[in-house]
Amino acid sequence: MSLPLTTVGSSLFLDETQKAKKYLMSLVSEGVSQAVSTGLYKSLFLARRSEEYIVKHYPENQMRSPMHMSMGQEFVSVGVCSALEGKGDIFASYRSHAAFLAQTHDTDRFFAELYGRMSGTGEGKGGSMHLAAPDSGHLLSSGVVATQIPVAIGAAFANARLRTGRTAVAFFGDGATDAGVFWESVNAASLFRLPVMFVCEDNGYAVDTPRAARQTFESLTEAVRPFGCDVYEDDSGDVESVYLLARRAAETARSKRRPAFLNIKCCRFLEHVGTGEDWHWGYRDKEATVRDWIARDAVITQRRRLLALGVAEQEIVALEGEVESIVRRSVERAVAAAIPGPERLYAGVFHAKA
């Protein structure tokens, strides 16, 4: 069975003709090779299709844990993780499906963890909010808002000391910038001259509370600037724009030995937690959201870009088919995988010396 692109159980995703043209980027970005553009599309499509499988199978009640979907925001983590070419150390929030997959491409361990299986990243003890595959550079996801941010600066310190060549990245929502520990971390990282990347996935809401109801300052980026880090803003909604920005930010951070703060505007397509839509909550206007964001969905934009670059439709379809079967097989493997036995409950509270 094959799912059509970005249409699972939802009226959300519009066809080409409804797109508001004014938001479309010029399709060819300078400094991005076709191979990179294709890779970005593949990562976007992997994250999107994986979450569509979650949407599809969640009602079966086998993935029993709160899901905070990345859908709509994937381009942020895909852009940043791709810019770091696997050399990122990723610290993410509970909304980290896309970051995890962008960094690791490991759908097997991903789905196994969501299904609570021994073969998952944490043999099911972590789940969607606590994904961790340090061997692949996804260090942790965390369910308490902002807690991952300071951990990233410690990793940046270790990476500098040990000269690993890796770049620590903290992904967090705009809500996390309400938290004191965000400001503590920006200050400490600037003070210690750590080339860490603070990436705000700014979807404008903490659950259903808009930023204006939580913060007095007009511009978050301007509030961060005086700490002595480099600040960047992006509201393109476009993966290549984020990719280029992240490359520049990472290079500057490394050469100037100071943090980068990236505020990337984005839009969460689904409800805060769960796999459905939330227009009935009434906190955001469907029409405006569709016009400003959903109509210029980064996944579809990137597909169009590939076509504009001269990639043949069949090639794209083949790539999508390949990703699709990877995702499908991962789900099948997860479903069939072993559930941890009761003896695993007490295992692993402490690390046992090998």
Binding site: E123, L162, H351
Partner: protein
């Protein structure tokens, strides 16, 4: 063997481990500056440089996360808090992040983080500079918790903690820093999770925590003069607890006093008492007794502070009651007073 005080023992453990392993570093508010955390970090910055011994902003929350990040990316941090009261700001990271990181990766990862917390009493510290809060942390699965009493244990256990691949919280009572004894010069590990009989006896077991072992020794001397033989058991490690040592001691003596330097209510003494009641029920000649702080915020004025804290006298009185002895006249006894040694300000 040469004598060393507790503060020197802590410093020597860190210094030797920093020498042995480049990945070890120590940081925290005031760590390399004037106070040097009661001398425990003397000379470390001079010896190892500002990359391995450094001060931080007053950001306990972020700096604890920093320690976790450094630990999971290959370093071995030692984070120091000059008061456990200030470590409360680190609770979010310790309880929500540090303690469960290993578990949520299926036990495959290590978190070699040591957090040193100074606890204890002294000279009008008042309600915000005097807590112990052992049970706040022993309550949390995934954290090892130690509270060495003697200088030799302090050196060996801190060394073991630094080499441990799990997060370890080390509680150090500030009055212990001046305690002196023979401490081996070479590096050594005193294994975590193994308690110690500080004094053998047969009539009553006192399970002492941290400073209260000093009071217990004094109480034991006083009681010995009346023919009462006291056994003092120092668990040293609270998590994982050496249950066997405690249970065997109480099974022998049939009596147990738990002397904690913390609040009694929901304190670690409750855990120890439950253990003894479960495992020694038929052997107990009298109910288990618990000694600890009065259930009030810590008062500042000296006269009330003296009422707030238990001491050797409290222990003696409890043992007398358990044994049905008349209270002895203790007027001529010399109880420990920190003021002889310390007159402030911090």
């Amino acid at each position: 063997m040469r004598k060393l005080d507790y503060s020197g023992a802590i410093r020597e453990a860190m210094s030797q481990e920093m020498e042995r392993d480049e990945r070890v570093f120590v940081y925290g508010i005031g760590v390399p500056t004037f106070s040097k955390i009661f001398g425990t970090t003397n000379g470390l910055q001079e010896k190892f440089g500002p990359e391995r011994c450094f001060d931080t902003p007053i950001s306990e929350d972020a700096m604890t996360g920093f320690g976790l990040g450094a630990a999971i990316r290959g370093l071995r941090p030692i984070h120091v808090h000059i008061r456990v009261d200030f470590m409360l700001l680190a609770t979010n990271q310790l309880v929500n992040m540090v303690s469960n990181y290993i578990y949520s990766t299926g036990g495959k990862l290590s978190v070699p983080l040591v957090v040193r917390a100074v606890i204890g009493r002294g000279w009008g510290q008042g309600a915000q500079h005097s807590k112990s809060l052992f049970s706040n942390f022993t309550h949390i699965p995934g954290l090892k918790v130690i509270a060495p009493t003697t200088p030799a244990d302090a050196k060996g256990m801190l060394t073991a903690a630094i080499r441990d691949d799990n997060p370890v919280i080390c509680f150090e009572h500030r009055w212990l820093y001046w305690a002196e004894e023979d401490v081996p010069e070479e590096p050594y590990e005193t294994p975590l999770g193994v308690g110690r009989i500080l004094r053998p006896g047969k009539d009553v077991t006192i399970v002492g925590l941290s400073w209260m072992n000093v009071e217990a020794r004094l109480a034991a001397d006083i009681l010995a003069r009346r023919g009462v033989s006291v056994e003092i058991v120092d668990p040293r490690t609270l998590v994982p607890l050496d249950e066997k040592l405690i249970v065997e001691s109480v099974a022998r003596t049939g009596r147990c006093v738990i002397a904690d330097c913390d609040w009694v209510n929901s304190g670690f003494s409750a855990e120890l008492s439950a253990l003894v009641n479960e495992k020694c029920f038929g052997r107990l000649k009298t109910p288990v007794r618990r000694i600890g702080f009065a259930h009030t915020p810590c008062p500042t004025v000296r006269e009330l502070e003296n009422e707030f804290y238990p001491n050797a006298k409290t222990i003696v009185r409890n043992v007398e009651e358990m044994l049905g002895l008349e209270p002895a006249n203790l007027d001529s006894e010399d109880f420990f007073s920190h003021e002889r040694r310390f007159r402030g300000p911090f």
